[in-house]
Symmetry: C2
Subunit: 210 residues, 2 copies
DNA sequence: GTCTATAGATTGATAGAC
DNA sequence: GTCTATCAATCTATAGAC
């Protein structure tokens, strides 16, 4: 029990600190101090700082990606069985719903989503490529399903619209306190379902634009 | 001439390196070495690393913001004079066209846009707040004009749709080589006008969704 | 304005005792 | 598995000669 406890605590604390303060602004000393473990524990359990962040991605992104891929395959299969194309809404929901519902599924999931929202723009090539490698297959499948949903668009147009959608979605996975200046009276904390509805309304319209 | 030359070279080189490799991954030693000036020149001309990045933002963001604000005011005035509301397309174009045309207007502008695309998600509180302070008034005006354009939406909905749009736009200001895995046959380098059209098609539809 | 030299602090990683 | 102690590298910032 003690054995895995240190490892888990390191993952939990590092996830939160990397998300809140960034990978490079967070030293291993801060992580181990907050986790209440020894500095050398990172080397022992993970090997390096980079391997630690990779383990953080791996732990949460693997099940999340499996769910998104599974739902995308289901969308494709259901449409095929009915002799029609998948719709943009089905594809978008298959991606968005697991992502945003995941936000409230575990204590640290919110921090993790913030972390991957920033991984999209991560300046460190090593860290960014860890993330891109894990997200690549989901992105590729999403792209193919969207191409089927919008056969009249060029692949080029679908690619860019998917990128636009990714950018929009990433604004919802951010910790609310990290958003730009918020006008008075704005509700910045939304339930996952409300956030999903807003995203889907916006993105389906964008994706179905001529 | 020599006097301002060092300062300009520092701005140009730091802009490029901060954009390509990130603020924290770029040491002042790398900047001064690549600029061919002495390490101490940063302290002399700017005072600190943070003041350097602030000067980088200031140099390009001030004229760009003035143009975007001016165009937003024009949209509002023209609609008012005609006794109608501004449209979402007018508001979006007033923001997007200056931004993306700016991309090709100066040698380093492309790097700068990448930098501000990442400033949205900057983990360092000091750097992020420099950016938010500069972008705040534009964001606020954009929000008000969009509220006028879509009076049937709640301010909450407009706020989130504006955030979605910001996220989408930021995917176009990125250096193409920093995008996630790109499927074969995709044209990743688009002219500003082509990119503007794609963005506007997508975002107008999203913004006008019920 | 530009330079050298260095202070002063922090970092990731590791060797070796327990 | 956990700990102390420390290495070697890096960083920003600055003092002071020219």
């Amino acid at each position: 029990m003690d054995k895995s406890d240190t490892k888990q605590r390191l993952l939990d604390v590092a996830e939160k600190l990397f998300a809140s303060n960034g990978y490079h602004c967070t030293s291993l000393r801060k992580v181990t101090a907050k986790a209440g473990v020894n500095l050398a524990a990172v080397s022992y359990h993970f090997g390096s700082k980079e391997a630690l962040v990779e383990a953080i991605f791996e732990r949460r992104l693997r099940p999340l990606n499996e769910e998104r891929m599974g739902r995308l395959e289901t969308v494709r299969a259901a449409a095929g069985a009915a002799g029609r194309k998948p719709t943009a809404e089905e594809a978008l929901r298959a991606f968005i719903e697991p992502t945003l519902r995941f936000r409230d599924s575990a204590p640290g999931a919110r921090y993790f989503l913030h972390l991957i929202g920033r991984a999209l723009t991560e300046p460190d090539d090593a860290v960014r490529s860890i993330f891109f490698r894990m997200i690549g297959p989901v992105f590729a499948l999403m792209f193919e399903v969207l191409c089927e949903a919008r056969p009249n668009l060029s692949r080029n147009q679908v690619f860019w619209r998917l990128n636009f959608a990714i950018g929009a979605i990433s604004r919802c996975t951010f910790l609310p306190e990290k958003l730009p200046v918020v006008p008075a009276g704005i509700e910045i904390e939304l339930s996952a379902d409300r956030q999903i509805d807003m995203l889907v309304d916006f993105l389906v319209a964008g994706m179905e634009a001529p």
